[in-house]
Amino acid sequence: MDKLRIAVSGGLFALLSIGIVAGLSTGTLSGFGWDAFSLLCPFGAVTSMIAAHLVVPRGVVSLVLMVAFIAVFGRAFCGWVCPVPLGKRISGFFKSANRRKVEQDERRERMLDIARHQLSCGTECSECASCKQRRAKLDSRHVVLGGALLSTVAFGFPVFCIVCPIGLAFATVLLVWRLFANGDVSILVVAVPALLVLEATLLRKWCARFCPLAAFMNLIGRFNRTFRPVIDESKCIESVSGRPCSRCSMVCEAEINVRHPEFGERTLDDCTRCRACVEACPAGALSLPLRSGRGVQEGPVTIEDNVDPSVLASKPAGE
């Protein structure tokens, strides 16, 4: 699935790049289409229409389509289409194996800690709100989203478009191509990719922490009820045997704690449908069904019997 995702987003980027090189008017992910048909970046459509005080039919149609897509598939765009995670993979490639392992282990320990804690809390899961998805809040991405909107309103043009990494990625293709094909030497051939790299290094974890597009999708994703990860409690190791597992939470690319959503940095609204959790689950307990309801927990689960008695003994009874 991981390979498939790379193939989809990479293939799309390659196709659009060919369009740029061949001089087709297919545009980029910011504005894609032929002739009258056009899909605009929803955020670009909004900021452009706000700034120009225009209601553009193609902008409105794109916005409606994209909102409908997000309402059904959440942030699938991030997992399957956007080229930025591809770039992150490439840069991750240069990370030392050692460093990668340390980071992985850290995450593993963190998730296990949470699982252990939750399993030994001594409260019946059905009574405790901890494992339910926590209420969606605003986070750092929404701060950037706010700044992007505010600057658009204040200065009357889509300021974020100038630095959007998706736009910069396609601009790099165009500029490099022009350098070779037209001998068009410009400082931009260096400056544009440099800005892209700067953003990627200075703002590590761009997608999870800063991307205003992700924030935008998160806001709409709050209405999403379809194709969300759901754990089958009758199979999940944690609920069946009371042993910590949380492998699903160790792999989630959106930094969601799939097993214990309350402890994730992100809520399930941020699921990119990468299916990493589905693949990581040793018990086959995870799926992304059409209808999935709100949280992970569906109905009461009793695990108290399975909990290490020593842990229970250390608690004042009845609490």
């Binding site: 289409g33 670009g44 229409m49 949470i114 701060v143 009357g156 300021v159 022009r178 410009s186």
Partner: protein
């Protein structure tokens, strides 16, 4: 409730509302940076040669999301991304380059309906219904008499022959060979003259200039 009161210390280090202060500060920094970038608007940007429909600079800058669609839409490949010289905020917006060809309003390829305008999804490029090629002023041709070959009596008249709008006249000043002059109220800046000018390439006569003898200049707003 037991958890919240007595056992808080037992909670794992990663707490629920774990957006770290550092991340929030960085995000706030991004917002401030975006505001700063927006404020560059007041530094002013030089006038540009825009494709048809991009003459309202205010509208173009407000609506263009730099999607690159118009670059590919132009059958003559004359729309190029603006460079840093056009101002930081203009970078990657569409400007015209007449190195190889000129703008005929897609007359040849699309019956006179500009393809760049119909391709632009945000309507940053937009023509009022009554607009015509003659009345849509992209820029103004200027001839540099120091580098123009005709002013060295070579009889060069490529630009004159190329102009689709009869905006160049040939005048014979006191018995010299004919020399081209721009008739300013006919020129719409289509770029045909610039695209054929040979002043930089005509063998021994080529000057050391970096521009062709006739170039289209943007119209500076009053």
């Amino acid at each position: 409730m037991s958890m919240e009161d007595g056992k808080k210390g037992a909670r794992p280090a990663v707490d629920a509302a774990a957006v770290s202060r550092r991340t929030l500060m960085a995000a706030a920094g991004c917002s401030v940076a975006l505001m700063g970038l927006g404020a560059l608007k007041y530094a002013g940007t030089p006038a540009q040669l825009r494709p048809p429909g991009g003459q309202d600079e205010e509208r173009l800058m407000a609506a263009c999301i730099r999607c690159q669609k118009c670059f590919g839409a132009c059958p003559r490949r004359i729309i190029v991304p603006a460079k840093l010289e056009s101002g930081v905020l203009s970078v990657r917006t569409p400007v015209l380059s007449f190195d190889d060809s000129y703008c005929d309003w897609c007359a040849e390829e699309n019956g006179g309906v500009p393809l760049c305008v119909s391709a632009c999804p945000t309507e940053a490029l937009h023509l009022p219904p009554e607009a015509t090629a003659e009345k849509t002023i992209i820029g103004m041709a200027k001839i540099d008499q120091k580098t123009c070959l005709a002013f060295r009596d070579t009889g060069c008249r490529y630009c004159y022959d190329a102009c689709p709008y009869d905006a160049i006249e040939l005048r014979t000043d006191d018995g010299t060979n004919p020399r081209p002059y721009i008739i300013e109220d006919r020129c719409n800046g289509c770029g045909a003259c610039e695209s054929v000018c040979v002043s930089l390439t005509a063998g021994a006569l080529a000057s050391s200039a970096s521009e062709r003898a006739v170039v289209i200049r943007p119209i500076e707003k009053a």
